[in-house]
């Protein structure tokens, strides 16, 4: 196993292998979303929700994944007319693979509790009872989570780059800007869906 296998599996593995892995993680992510009562409101974005059913959790993940695939496929076609749908599907599925670990980090590092406390204070400074022992898993959790998010973005960039033969500087800039715009837009758009 070398760095390419980890950071750019799209250059090495066949589309079939990538799809099987990606689909497996899609199922795992949906189950972990249900277990942690978190809805996926865009790729790389989650928010807590009460009374989430397994079907809803699965639908949220499905809607986010499918819309990201559509968005990236259209963008890919604009850059490079030989872009294949399966390469974009694999890019999105695999880039979301680390999500279940991120959700576990939020749940078990104390970040979840902190967010609930901050939300409950309605603007005023919350009293955080973090002792020195609790701060260790919290810090490790935050750093691990950040590393996973960066890894996810790296996967989506490398996957898109491989799928569309991305080289030109302005294409790369356009990809990054439109991806962030899409993520933001999707968080708002998904609120209007009754899933």
């Amino acid at each position: 196993m070398n760095w390419q296998t980890v950071f750019n599996p799209f250059s090495k593995f066949s589309e079939k292998q990538l799809f099987i892995f990606g689909f497996l993680f899609f199922i795992v992510n949906s189950l972990v979303c249900f277990y942690t009562s978190t809805k996926m409101d865009s790729i790389f974005h989650f928010s807590p929700i009460e009374n989430l059913t397994l079907t809803s959790a699965l639908l949220f993940v499905l809607v986010c994944t499918v819309s990201a695939i559509l968005f990236l496929f259209l963008l890919g076609l604009a850059f490079y007319k030989k872009t294949r749908l399966i390469d974009i599907v694999n890019t999105v599925l695999l880039s979301q693979a680390p999500n279940f670990m991120i959700l576990f980090c939020i749940k078990f590092s104390g970040l979840d509790t902190l967010a609930t406390k901050i939300n409950g204070t309605s603007g005023s400074v919350p009293s955080l009872d973090l002792d020195s022992i609790a701060i260790i898993p919290f810090t490790i959790g935050v750093f691990f989570m950040l590393a996973l998010i960066i890894y996810g973005f790296m996967l989506i960039y490398n996957g898109f780059k491989t799928a569309t033969n991305l080289k030109k500087g302005y294409h790369i800039a356009l990809f990054i800007i439109t991806l962030f715009l899409f993520i933001t837009f999707h968080q708002v758009y998904i609120q209007h869906l009754k899933l």
Binding site: F10, S11, S14, E15, R84, N165
Partner: protein
């Protein structure tokens, strides 16, 4: 022995100035341009050869090289671009 295609001093493209028959030792002198295929580096020449041997199947080439299809197709597109530039 590897055929040099760029000048080791100024990195400009080299041209053929002499050819020799191994049998009768006849020598031909002139100033000939290298054929397009020989202007490519060794790796690119091998790529074209592999493509020909695998009956023009990028999928088959990718399988043999242990790479994914889009990686191989991207290499091919880059090479096509390079050849187009060399031709013009």
């Amino acid at each position: 022995m590897k055929l040099p295609i760029v000048c080791p001093s100024c990195e400009n493209s080299l041209r053929v100035s002499q050819m020799k028959c191994d049998q009768c030792e006849t020598e031909v002198n002139g100033n000939y341009e290298l054929p397009l295929y020989l202007k490519l580096n060794r790796e690119e020449q091998n790529f074209i050869l592999e493509f020909f041997i695998s009956s023009g199947s990028i999928k088959e080439m990718a399988k043999q090289a242990g790479n994914s299809y889009p990686t191989m197709r991207n290499k091919m597109d880059d090479l096509i671009e390079k050849i187009k530039n060399l031709k013009s």
